[in-house]
């Protein structure tokens, strides 16, 4: 009642001191918390922008000092150092660090070879994404049309980006090479010995061990995650689609912000605009993610508590039964479950034959039914995981908490709300957030259960049908698989999905009571 006033009243919010806060009633406290959360948003935004500004400042200052350092090193450097500006690793070789020197040299050789043979071409083509598409002419003798393929926009974009990555890596290595010269000169000056190749190797399994461990995983992530994401973002600025596939029919090219304008303009010419469709799907995605996360969370916790209940036997059996469902691939179980709920599926058949219903229930036909059904079936999928996770935590709650509360006369419900739930929420806060965002991108459940059905006539467009159960991620899939394969549009949607997820994560992280300090746990 009273808690609402923070929203109604304009102007600056009343701030309480700790003592004042403690005097507030429950409702007021809640309202105060929410109000302070909203009140903190402008500050958070300001801080965020300031942080970005400071970051940029640091970057520019960093670059400035780097250049200064490079010049100084050259001025003060000996001959091997100076030669190293051109021939990487030369200084190392002269000073007896054969292994390092050779590696530097090898890297430079590979880089130059690559740039000459291929990299130069890809980089040169990047601004245009190719000059000539395929041509077709009739071979008059064989009476056959022959196609000659020329540039490939897709490859130009892909390898162009890869080449830029490579150049960045080269610049970094080159800088490293110079810094090492500087360091070596300093070390020699102070009369110490340089590290030998053997020392280097040993340090790789000791104080530099993290580099060894991270080398492989990070290379994989850069090539197979970062590169594709950069590519995907760039595609949003091209006209890459089914009729401009970049090789077989027409080349694609840069179109600037046009796709974002198309996507975000609210003035759709006839029918619903993309922005409106996006908004509609986004709101369902958020509703879905909320229910999918919290129904699973609370029901999973309840099942875990049920199994943990004192006096229940065969605990292991119950757990096993639930856990088995994790082990069976979803494309089998979900497809089957989807058929069970069909209008002529066995569930309707059973209910009809028992006479409990007069006509088949529209599980997949009616928008509201379908939305509820997917959430319910998702409970079926999610409870086993949550049961496992919460079982462990429940056992960790100190038993004496319950003992003492029982002596104080608390009943089971009070114990749950005062002890179990706060503890659980505190410990699993971060987990809840990740599970919320991963539910937003839960492709499998929707794709296998409904494929997005039933269709939402108003939201469907030339870019493909949209259903009432479609999430942003399945919509994105449909756009690429649809008749026109509008990859550029899918990229725009992908970027927007990212922004939504990122904003939610940031806001929730900021608002979470237990932003954990990871060092506390060790």
């Amino acid at each position: 009642m009273d808690s609402g006033r923070f929203f109604e009243r304009g102007g600056p919010m009343i701030r309480y001191s700790d003592l004042e806060y403690l005097k507030l009633s429950k409702g007021k406290r809640f309202g105060y918390k929410i109000a302070s959360f909203f009140a903190s948003i402008p500050t958070a935004l300001k801080n965020g922008l300031l942080a970005i500004w400071r970051f940029l400042g640091t970057v520019f200052r960093g670059i400035g000092s780097e250049i200064k350092d490079l010049v100084n090193t050259f001025k003060e450097g000996d001959l091997p150092t100076r030669v190293s500006y051109l021939v990487m690793g030369f200084g190392n070789l002269c000073r007896g660090q054969i292994l390092r020197g050779l590696l530097f040299l090898l890297f430079e050789a590979v880089f130059i070879l690559y740039m000459v043979t291929a990299g130069g071409y890809w980089l040169g083509m990047l601004p245009s994404l190719g000059l000539q598409g395929p041509t077709k002419e009739l071979d008059p003798i064989l009476d056959v049309f022959v196609t000659t393929y020329h540039d490939n926009s897709f490859k130009i974009l892909l390898y162009g980006v890869l080449t830029i990555f490579f150049i960045i890596a080269f610049i970094y290595t080159w800088r490293l090479n110079i810094r090492q010269n500087k360091l070596a000169m300093q070390i020699l000056k102070s009369g110490k010995k340089l590290k030998s190749g053997k020392d280097d190797l040993r340090s790789l399994v000791d104080d530099q061990f993290h580099k060894t461990l991270l080398a492989l995983p990070l290379t994989g992530i850069i090539i197979f995650t970062v590169l594709p994401i950069v590519f995907m973002i760039l595609v949003a600025f091209t006209n890459y689609d089914g009729t401009h596939d970049g090789f077989n029919n027409n080349l694609f090219t840069w179109v600037g912000w046009q796709n974002f304008n198309t996507m975000l303009s609210w003035q759709g010419s006839g029918g619903q605009s993309y922005a409106a469709t996006f908004g509609e799907i986004l709101s369902w995605t958020l509703i879905w993610a909320f229910f999918a996360t919290f129904t699973n969370y609370f029901l999973g916790m309840m099942v875990a508590m049920l199994i943990n209940k004192r006096g229940i036997r065969l605990k292991k059996l119950w757990r096993t039964i639930l856990v088995v469902t994790i082990a069976i691939p979803q494309f089998i179980s979900l497809l089957y479950v989807s058929k069970m709920f069909a209008k002529n599926g066995i569930l309707n058949g059973f209910l009809l034959s028992m006479g409990w219903i007069q006509q088949a229930l529209p599980f997949w036909e009616d928008p509201t039914w379908a939305r509820i059904t997917v959430i319910v079936i998702n409970i079926w999928i999610g409870i086993p995981y949550l049961m496992l996770i919460t079982t462990g935590i429940l056992m960790n709650i100190p038993a004496d908490l319950y003992e003492s509360s029982r002596i104080d006369g608390a009943n089971a419900w009070q114990q749950y709300t005062k002890i179990t739930l706060p503890y659980m929420l505190f410990v699993t806060g971060p987990y809840l957030l990740t599970s919320f965002t991963s539910n937003m991108n839960n492709f499998n459940v929707i794709y296998l259960l409904t494929g997005g059905a039933p269709t939402n006539p108003a939201a469907s467009s030339a870019a493909g049908t949209v259903g009432y159960t479609d999430l942003l991620i399945t919509w994105l899939f449909k756009i690429t698989m649809g008749a026109e394969s509008q990859y550029y549009l899918a990229s725009v949607v992908g970027i927007l999905v990212f922004i939504v997820v990122a904003v939610i994560s940031l806001v929730v992280y900021g608002a979470m009571p237990s932003i954990k300090n990871e060092e506390d746990f060790q």
Binding site: T225, I312, T320, V324, I328, Y385, T391
Partner: protein
Amino acid sequence: MSESKTAASSLKRHMGIQASRRIGNTAAYIVLVLISVIWLIPFVCILLQSFRVESTWQVGYVIPQQWGLDNYRNLMNTDFPKWYLNTLIMALVTAVLQTIIVLCMSYTLSRFRFKGRKFLMRFMLILGMFPGMLTMIILYRVLKDLGMTQANAVPGLILVYIASSGMGYYVSKGFFDTIPKSLDEAARIDGATRFQILKKIILPLSKPIVIYTVLTAFMGPWGDYVFARYVSFGTSAGMNVAVGMYNWLNKDQISSYYTMFCAGGVLVAIPVTALFLWLQKYYVEGVTGGAVKG
């Protein structure tokens, strides 16, 4: 208020507690049985359908009129064994390599404090927020240029599965965080290298999380449909079970393949379920030890 009366009332209260507990337990059992039935129904149905021989299409009843192994026999005459073998190979190799990579990553992030660590973790968190759906077409082209598509889809898929697996370090990092750092420090004082600490101290303590990682990695390839379809690109020799069997659900084919689909489903479920039941204990420990700390 005589003593006997107090004793009686306490006894009564005691019995009351017992009775209410008995009622509570009975209710709990009923709920548990109900839950078990709901959770098992689809699997029991799939199992029963796989033994139905009187027809191959979907029917409105569950219990077969005629029982037999025809569906399993027929499966052997399709490409199913090949798909099964492909998937098994992928699952085994991925399980080993992905575990190594995930452990490297999570151990490093849990134990080392180096420049750029926070940045790295935040960076991967942000990367994970991009929907992966779109990057598939790009990964497909990369694999194609490496000659790892179509008939060679198996190594290609393995490469992609393991390449980005480092991003899934959360759970095991959470687990490593629970192992006291003082153990490391003591060993450092004794002159052990970081590598020796990992091998001799951390790994033996990490059995649950290792097994958890192996299990999740092993399960992945069995269910992958969207990306595996890209990479095998219409070539039966490179398909996994999901892609191969999904084709049977095509409108023209479903009525002759439906029961075989169920039989295939049962065969797919067997290795994963068996492994799961066998290693369940560690999975639970791994998931509870790691997930919540994230």
